[in-house]
Structures are given as C-alpha cells and as structure tokens.
Amino acid sequence: VGGAIIFAFTLIPTRRRKPTIALFTFLAGLYYSLEFFLPTHLLSDGTMGNFLTPTLPVAGNVSQSVVAFTYGLGVISLLTVHLKSIGRKREGWGFSAAVIVSFFVMIVAGLCNKYSPNWSPVHGVKASDVFDFLFQGGLTALDSAMFALIAFFIVSASYRAFRIRSVESSLLMGSAVLVMLGQVTLGTAITSGLPSTGIASNFRLENIAQYILLEINTPALRAIIFGIAVGFLATSLRLWLSLERGAYFDQEA
C-alpha cells in the first residue's frame, strides 16, 4: 500500500501536489484525532478502543513503508556526494573513499549475518563474527569515542559561559560553583560542621545546591516547557490545517 501511495503521488500534476498533500495531512490528523477522542469499548482482542483502534497498526505499517522508501533518497545523497568527491579528487577524497568502502562492507556483512551467520569466509571466522567485529568493534567504539568528546567540549564551553563579564554571568558562575560543590563529597565536607536540622542546616552546601536546583532551576525550566508545549500544539494545528508558510507551503499555496 505504501508503494502504491508513492506511485499514485508521482502521477499527480505538480500544481495539484500541494493541495493533495494538504488534504492527506488533514485526513491523517483527523484520523488520529478521532481515534483518540471517540468513546471506547471492550474490543474482541480484550483491549479498550473504538472502531478505528484496530486499524492503527495498518496505518502505522503504511506510514513505515512510505518512510522506508525515503531511505533510498538518503543513500543516493550519500553516494552522490562522496562518489563525486572521489571522481574529482577533491581535498580529503580519501575520507570519501573510506565512507564508500565502509558502506558496502557493512551492507555485505549485515546481509551475511542476517541470512547466513554460520558461513565462514575465512577459516574459523564466521560471518556473524565479522559483523560483530565491525559493528561492536568499529561502529559502537567510534560512537563511544564521539560521545566521550562531549566531556572535553563541556570544559571549553563552561569556561566561556562562566567567565565573569556581567552581573548575569557572575550569578551563573556563583550558582554553578555552589551546585557543583553541593554535589560532591569534598564540597559537602566544607559545611559538614553545620547542624543537619534547624535554620542553620539551610546553609549546608548540599541544601543550598538542592534549593538552587529545585526552587529556582526547576520552576524556570517548567515555565519554558509550558511555552514549548503550547507552541508545539499551535504548530501542530498549523501543520494539520496547512497554515504554516514555509517553502513546502510556499506563498502561492
């Protein structure tokens, strides 16, 4: 069905595509809204739902199928950029070659692992071992290395953020120091001499840190989240009704 939908879209004249997309967007939004709002009853499979609920997996599968077709676009984009880079010997074309080789090696290894994991291309080495080596030893390790970079970037970013240049950055610096000290044993040891109950306990670093986090930071964050949630709703409505003016709903739409 997903393939049929994509094929049908290609037959629509260009000038009618935007109204068609708007119509489909509206119908899809209406379908999910009705499924959510209509009263429910006990269905034959023992779950609660309405007459639209059993069709949800079908709608989900069609949507997934349509999305699956777009993976081809990604692959084409990737191959086009890197093959041209190799063909024209652009600066750093060796990296593009590495991308292309890795791409095809991983496809072959993935397919062998899926359909013939016990096949042994080299004596004593199974296809599944090759895949595991590439995936766990290569991709996952590289992913972790990139993730680890964040720690170093946090240092340089916080150095810039905490530089005292204004009243605001001074407040930020001050509160950051208090929160950081309040989270570590060494920090809490500084004020460990203060009583753990009574008014004086409020001045223990761990309590100050908690106060900053829960009474100042959390309300501010919640206020931002409220704004985001309402904005999200408004944007969803605008997209549902195709009111959003972007390139894909350009001025003439």
Binding site: L38, T40, V67, G74, V81, A157, E244, A247
Partner: protein
C-alpha cells in the same frame, strides 16, 4: 494516555487551547495584525548571512537529528525548523552565498531538498541550488555528529544555524562551530540542550520563541494570530498555577473544610491527572 477517556481533563484542556488558537487565527484573518516582541536571534539571521557573504565562506544549516514521521516530538520541531530554513535560504539566495544542509534522516533529506529548491526558485536563483548541498550524513547520532564536525572543519562555515530537535550531540556541533569562528544561531525544543547552546552560540531561541519564529519572520496574519492564541493559553496556565497554589496552600493550612476542601481538591485533581 491512549484515549481521551483516560484523562478527560487533559483532552478538554487540549481542545479548549486548540479552539482558542483557531479563534485567534480566524480573528487575525479579519485584518488586525498583532505585534510580536523583538526576537534577537531572528533579527540576527540577516547579519549572519551577510557576514558569510562578506567572508566568502559557506553557511551551514543543521535541522537536528530528529526524523519526520516516527515521533511527533521530533517531527514537529523538524518541520518547524524546515519552515525557518526556508526563510533563511531565501536570504542566502538573495546574497548568492553557498549553503550546506546536513541531515540525519532520509525523510528530512527529501523535504530539505524540496525546501531549498523552492526557496531558490522563489528568490529567482534556481541555478544556485545543487542536490549536493543537502547532505545525508548518517542516521546514527554520533556518526552524524562526527560527520558535521568534519564538515565544519573542512568547509569552515561563517554562519551556523542549528535549528530543530537536538540531543547529546548538540554541544559537539556548537563547539565545532565556535572553534572555526562561525556566528551561530540555535533553537531547539529540547530544554536539556538549551544550556549547551547558550554557552556556545551567539543567539539562542528559547522555549516558545522557536515555535513563534515562522510567524515572526513571515508576518503572516494567520501565524501571528496563532501566536496571540498561544499567549492566551499561557495566561490560562499562569492563572491555573496561581489558583492551584492558593488552593493547595488553603488545604495545607486547613483553612478549607468540608465542602470547601473537597471543592479545592477537585480543582487540584483536574491538573494532577
């Protein structure tokens, strides 16, 4: 929350907010345009594009790592980002500057190609568009981050626009831009990533500014109307917070008894569900 019946209060509040926003959209269509406060990050778009043009360096646009279609929490910000990128691309086309968009999702790649092509066409410079400028790097978060880092290092963009759904990779992307001296404008719906952007970018759209961006830059009456509708909804939320605080305080201090207490509890339960 599977169906409205699971929590009628949430369903009713959603419908009421939607109606308020729609009513303001219809009202705005009648002609009276509301004004929106100045948003520095959006005013700086022209400055960023102009700077890249003067320096003869490209502009990098990243619509985040969120996809379209799989998760609404990623889809809506990504589509919203595309709307903003459409506007930015028109300015880029006007200046005749080279731009690159790095994507982490194949669906976004397709949409991005259409967005950029349409924007260049509308600006009357279709020859400036190349499908090579929309680059699908990887759908794996850190492979994408490393791809963007490499792109920034090689191309040395003068302006970076990081707009969309970002997660742990946000700091890597923004720090790399900072290192090559790019002017950076960021916006995301992910509140956890906002501090990283604030620390590394020149301008950041915070909270609902991100969703108000397309209305702000397009000055479209319907979109401006929806922003006013959003503000009405926020007034309702603030009123509910104040009333809830008063109600909880009254219950806590045992001022309200019997029917009064049950009324106050009933009011609080609407928002607790």
């Amino acid at each position: 929350l599977q169906h409205a019946e699971d929590s009628w209060s949430i369903a009713i509040i959603t419908v009421v907010f939607s109606l308020v926003i729609l009513a303001r959209i219809l009202f705005a269509r009648s002609g009276k345009l509301p004004t929106i406060r100045r948003i520095a990050g959006l005013n700086a778009i022209d400055e960023a594009v102009g700077r890249a043009t003067e320096m003869g360096r490209p502009i990098l646009m990243v619509p985040g790592v969120g996809g379209i279609g799989s998760d609404p929490l990623d889809t809506i910000p990504t589509l919203n980002a595309m709307s903003i990128f459409s506007y930015i691309t028109r300015i880029i086309a006007k200046f005749g500057t080279h731009s690159i968009m790095a994507t982490a999702d194949p669906v976004v790649t397709g949409v991005a190609e259409d967005v950029l092509r349409d924007a260049y066409n509308e600006a009357g410079k279709p020859e400036l568009f190349s499908t090579e400028d929309v680059r699908f790097l990887s759908d794996r978060q850190f492979a994408f981050a490393s791809g963007v880092a490499g792109l920034v290092e090689r191309e040395k963009p003068a302006a970076n626009f990081l707009i969309g759904a970002f997660y742990a990779e946000s700091l890597i992307l923004a720090e790399m831009g900072q290192r090559v001296g790019a002017i950076q404008i960021a916006a995301t719906n992910q509140t956890v990533q906002l501090p990283f952007f604030i620390a590394t970018c020149d301008y950041v759209l915070i909270g609902d500014e991100f969703y108000a961006a397309s209305a702000y830059i397009s000055k479209n009456p319907e979109l401006l109307g929806s922003i006013v509708g959003q503000d009405y909804c926020k007034v309702f939320i603030v009123a509910a917070i104040i009333l809830g605080t008063v109600a909880a305080s009254l219950i806590g201090s045992h001022v309200g008894h019997g029917e009064v207490a049950s009324l106050l509890n009933g009011f609080l339960n609407i928002f607790k569900e």
